[in-house]
Point group: C2
Chain length 207, copies 2
C-alpha cells in the first residue's frame, strides 16, 4: 500500500489543490483560495512550495507514486493467460487503485487531461500513467494469448489504442455531467473486449 495522504500542512494543501483544480481548473484557482480551504495564510503556501506550478508538479509526482500500487502483476497475468478463460484474464488486467486516495487521484487525472495540447508536463503525465501503463500490461498479454492460439489474431496496437482512447474519455468525463458509473464502465469494457474473440475450442462465456 502506498503512502496515505496525511494531515500535515503540506498534504492539506495538496489535497485542497487537487480538489480545486479538478473542480474549477488550474488557471482559475488562486493560491489565496487554496490557502483559504486549507485554513492557512496565503503566504504559508510558499513555505511548502516554491510556486503554484510546483503544487501541480507535486500532485503529478504523487499520482505516479501512488498509482504503482494499483498495477496488476504482469507475471501473474501471464501465468493466467496459459489456462484461464481469455476474457477473465483481460478483465483482470484492468487497472484499479488499491488505496484510499481514489478520489484525489481521479482529480489529478482530470486536471492533467485539461492540459492536453497546452502543457508538456500534463501530456507526459497522461502518456506515462494512462497510455503506457495499459499498453505495458495488455500488449504482452494479448500477444501471448494469440501466440497460444487461445484468441483469434487481431491488430493488438490498434485495439489498445481504441481502448486507451475510450478509457481516457471515461476519466476525463469523470467529474462532468457525462460521468459514467462503474457498472456501465464494465459493460462497455466488456463490449470492447468482445473484439478479442476466443478461438472456437475456447468458447464458453458470451458478451
Amino acid at each position: 500500500m502506498a503512502k496515505q495522504i496525511g494531515n500535515t500542512t503540506r498534504d492539506k494543501i495538496l489535497k485542497v489543490a487537487a480538489y480545486q483544480f479538478a473542480q474549477r481548473g488550474y488557471d482559475k484557482v488562486t493560491t489565496r483560495e487554496i490557502a483559504k480551504d486549507a485554513e492557512i495564510n496565503p503566504a504559508s503556501i510558499y513555505h511548502h512550495f516554491p510556486s503554484k506550478e510546483d503544487i501541480l508538479d507535486s500532485l503529478y509526482a504523487l499520482y505516479s507514486l501512488e498509482r504503482k500500487s494499483g498495477y496488476p502483476d504482469l507475471n501473474e497475468l501471464m501465468q493466467l493467460a496459459e489456462t484461464d478463460p481469455p476474457h477473465d484474464v483481460l478483465l483482470k488486467s484492468i487497472f484499479s487503485y488499491s488505496d484510499k486516495n481514489v478520489e484525489m487521484l481521479d482529480q489529478i487525472l482530470i486536471t492533467a487531461a485539461r492540459g492536453l495540447g497546452i502543457d508538456p508536463k500534463s501530456e507526459r503525465f497522461i502518456r506515462e500513467n494512462i497510455f503506457e501503463s495499459v499498453e505495458n500490461v495488455l500488449k504482452p498479454l494479448l500477444e501471448r494469448l494469440i501466440e497460444l492460439g487461445r484468441v483469434k489474431p487481431l491488430d493488438v496496437d490498434l485495439f489498445i489504442k481504441v481502448l486507451n482512447f475510450y478509457c481516457f474519455s471515461v476519466a476525463a468525463f469523470n467529474k462532468s455531467t457525462f460521468r459514467i458509473g462503474f457498472a456501465e464502465f464494465q459493460k462497455e469494457m466488456a463490449l470492447l473486449f468482445s473484439l478479442v474473440e476466443p478461438c472456437h475450442s475456447e468458447r464458453s462465456e458470451e458478451y
Copy 2:
C-alpha cells in the same frame, strides 16, 4: 455551404482567438495577445465583443452553425440502410465538415473539451455537437438495420456511447502529441464498427 469566415475585423478576432485558445488555453490567452495577432489595438476588441468570454461564446455559436452543413442526410442514409452493405452505410454516417473552416472548427472543439467539468457552456456544447449529433444519426440507423435483420442485435445505446467516447478522445487529442491521422482514425472506426455484425446472408466485407 455555411458562411465562410470573412476578413472583417470581427472575423479576424474570432479566427485568431480560436487558434490561440486551442494552442494555449482560454485562460492563458490574453485579449492583448489576441489583438496583437489580429493586428488591431487591444481596445478595439471591445467594439466587437462586450467581453473576452463573449468571444468564446461566439466561437461556439459559429461552430454550431457551420457544423450543420456537415451533417449527413438521415433520410438518405435510412434509404441506403435498406439495400447497401451495413458497414458501408455506417461509415457514411460518420460526420465530416463540409467546408473550408475545418482547422478552426477543430480548434473550437478542443477548447470546449478543456471546459469539461468546469464550464457548463462548454459541456452543453460538447453534448449538442458531438454526442447528440452522432446519436441522432446512428441510433435510428442501427435500430433500423437490426429491425431489418441485416445486422445482429446489439445494445445500441452502449455501442454509441463507446463510439462517442472514442471519438471525443480523437478530437481532444487533435492538437496534442497523441494526435492520430485520418487513416488511423478510419481503421479504428472500422474496428469499432466490426462490433456490428452483419447477418450471415450479408457477409461480404471483412474487417
